[in-house]
């Protein structure tokens, strides 16, 4: 397999990497960049624990070839806060106790953040619909939905 030089912007920082054609973006993020907030869950696009934002939109890093991410802008959970300053939905997860084991949390927070950017005033139904692919096996959905709801414009 011919190796490829790629350049991706991760959390605002340009990273140059050499990857094999079958390297997955998830493994490059976790192992080469040591950003282990992005989780490996099912590996087949069912659970969304590996969610990252690509050009601001949620995608699943377990199904993306790293070489195909060349030139893209990627945000992982580590890149959401500005230093110690959390984005509103991160603070809301803390305030609502919307975290149990924490494994789904990076994907949940990133997907919620993308939803609020797309639709700043989502209803409960819209929140549940947008998050329907993110699995929480502690079944902490109620607190998660409440956390996101508290960030909706009408509740500010």
């Amino acid at each position: 397999m011919t190796k490829h030089e790629i350049e991706i912007t991760v959390n605002g920082r340009k990273r140059r990497l050499t990857v094999k054609p079958n390297d997955l973006l998830l493994n490059v993020i976790r192992e080469d960049l040591v950003l282990t907030g992005t989780k490996y869950g099912c590996g087949i696009g069912e659970c969304a624990a590996c969610t990252v934002l690509m050009e601001g939109k949620p995608v699943l890093a377990c199904m993306i070839l790293a070489v195909a991410a060349h030139g893209k802008n990627i945000t992982t959970i580590e890149g959401l806060a500005d230093g110690d300053k959390l984005v509103p939905v991160q603070q809301a997860f803390i305030d609502h106790g919307a975290i149990q084991c924490g494994f789904c949390t990076p994907g949940m927070v990133l997907t919620s953040h993308a939803l609020l950017n797309e639709n700043p005033d989502p209803s409960e139904e819209e929140i549940r619909d947008y998050l329907r692919g993110n699995y929480c096996r502690c079944t902490g959905y109620t607190a998660i939905v409440k956390a996101v709801q508290s960030c909706a414009k009408k509740n500010q």
């Binding site: 397999m1 490829h4 079958n22 087949i44 939109k57 070489v67 195909a68 947008y130």
Partner: protein, 299 residues
Amino acid sequence: MHVNTRIMPVEFEYLEPKTKAEALEMLAKYDNVKVLAGGTDLIVKLKTGADIKVDYMMNVKEIEELNYIKLEDNLVKIGAVTPLSTIENNEIINKYLPILSEAIKAMAAIAVRNMGTIGGNLCNSSPAGDTIPPLTVYDAKLILAGKQGTKEVSVEEFITGPGKNILAQDEMLVEVVVPAPKENTGAAFIKKTRVKADISKINTAVLMERVEDKCVNCRIAMGSVAAKVVRILPAEEAVRGQKVDLNLCQKAAQIVSDEIKPIDDNRSTAEYRKEIARVIVEDAMKIAWQRSGGEKIND
């Protein structure tokens, strides 16, 4: 067999054409090229050990000229690599092909729809593919391109069986062309799943064209009841030219249930599929009829 989905076990060379012409040249030049779009089906299949021969992986997602939605001469044209999430929110689609948008909104998770493309859903050719029944009843044509030129086929001609279609090794799907439905036409899409993000146990799309209180044209497509998405011609025939009422909807729905020969699999049973087909076709007909401007059909 133990499957490790942490890695991609298959080895291949990577190709990334930037134009359609470049992609067609690569398809003609190399053997065993697999076209990669969103990867939400192909990557999973390769990870889980599907028997797919791939020496070259050709990523078509960077071909900008195949990413568009436009209305031209009363035809809705969708580029093959247009992401599903772009289609579901597009004004032209919502106005002219609303059940395509509804079917996509009911698919998987937002992250999967951001990655997946309409061309990918068609070329994956699943009997449960949710874009297929709407495109079938809307009478969509698919444009297949090869180095020798292009050809136009219907969705029914394109898909031949589970995961199988007529694409030659050196061809690719480049565009989906859908005639804008006539005035007084209504359509509906219904799918049944265990939880919302699931692959369909069964799905249906119904399109009805109305003149006064009669349906002059009816198309009914069913997914997950055969080796591919199928139209139920005897049911369509029973509706055509008839005055539409509850009785007619129930009669057509019963014909669908009698005609289909579904199987038991890990998502549902043949028995359930035959029963629920009757229910969802009746419901879809009522919705389609009302959307065509017809009078609401009460039970």
